[in-house]
Amino acid sequence: MSWTKLAQGEVTSSSSTTAIEFTGFSQSYKHMKIVALGASESVAGGGTMAFNEMKITMGAGSYATSGYNWSYRGIAIDNDWGWGGGDSSNPAYDSYFHIQYDEPSGNDSGAKRAYSPFEMFLFDYSNANTRTPVYFAGGTVYSTGYTSSVYGGLIYCMGVNLSLNRIEKIKFELNDGGYFSKHTKISLYGLDG
């Protein structure tokens, strides 16, 4: 067994990176693992619940627009986002959203940052004759500055590309706008099969 790094995107200055996209990566491996630290300014929500959402889309020759079926589980303290630790699925999703909850700074003023370590598996991503299951796990935590009314959450997704194609491109975007900030690093690894 061997692993090979296929590609990497890193934000070294907080400037104008609105999307991190990978195209043309090797199709010579069986599975793909993605390891990342995502960081952004939070531009949605507010107060103790500011956040940013990360949108992930994949595709073969072009990005899928309606070919994914995602089942996800998001769990947040106090069930503020209505998921309640339960399962839900949305076959209409053509992408899924990883929510980077903010780590609020103690009040509503000032720039807030959203951080999230996350990892993914794309199973048999290079096979053009099968659907591609994708596993995602990540999230973030509540504020170190808050001891009450705290928020944090974790999200776990399984998605399946309903189309029979390989994954040739993958794109990470901030659905709420703003920029990926410094310290964001996303790495793609291929595993022999």
């Binding site: 170190t144 944090g152 974790l154």
Partner: protein
């Protein structure tokens, strides 16, 4: 350098140790990936939980890691470990159950729970709102199912640290402090790690 290299590892045979640490971690990789199993001298019966402290250090000589000042989010498939809810956020506390230890074959013996952890961008040292964190998932037999082989969990944990002046009331802030991780440490909250414990540390190119 291959895509993923084994950097260090500890496998206990006859020894019983209170903590396991990896120091002088190479700074030549992008991410750390840790795979391991736990066994504990005080928790080898089914139905007993095992807690492990996890700390990360920006210096090999630091006496206290960031585990004492970070925040944690945890969720589990059930309420056995983390209380009445499925999600638990902790503040300034780092002593958490990581698994339930199994009993195997009805014999009082050691058992294992496995875990995976990633620490992305661990070697980054820079100014401008630095941050470190990890994602961890572990699994072990469920202690209350009346059998020996029911899966417990999975138990997911995730932590984000904003040490060294972060989290101020003025917002993101900045710091000139290095935040590269050079050492990590696992400490048994009670009892000792023992035979059945094996932790491997990998660097991801």
């Amino acid at each position: 350098m291959a895509g993923v290299d084994l950097l260090d590892g500890v496998t206990l045979t006859r020894d019983a140790v209170s903590s396991i640490e990896f120091d002088n971690i190479s700074q030549s990789y992008n991410h750390l990936w840790i795979l391991g199993t736990w066994a504990n001298s005080s928790h080898f019966h089914w139905g007993s939980s095992m807690a492990v402290d996890f700390e990360i250090f920006a210096s090999d000589s630091a006496g206290t890691g960031w585990g004492t000042s970070g925040s944690w989010s945890m969720c589990a498939g059930g309420s056995v470990v983390i209380g009445s809810g499925r999600i638990l956020n902790m503040h300034n506390s780092y002593q958490h159950p990581v698994c339930m230890m199994p009993r195997m074959g009805g014999v009082t013996t050691i058992g294992n729970s496995g875990f995976e952890m990633i620490i992305p961008n661990y070697a980054k040292s820079d100014t401008g709102d630095p941050c470190k964190g990890f994602h961890m998932q572990s699994v072990g037999p469920h202690p209350s199912q009346g059998a020996n082989h029911h899966a417990y969990g999975p138990l997911h944990r995730l932590s984000v640290y904003k040490p060294q002046g972060q989290g101020s009331t003025s917002g993101g802030g900045s710091t000139s402090d290095s935040v590269a991780i050079t050492k990590i440490k696992f400490t048994a909250y009670s009892g000792s790690f023992m035979h059945g414990t094996s932790i491997m540390l990998y660097g991801m190119e």
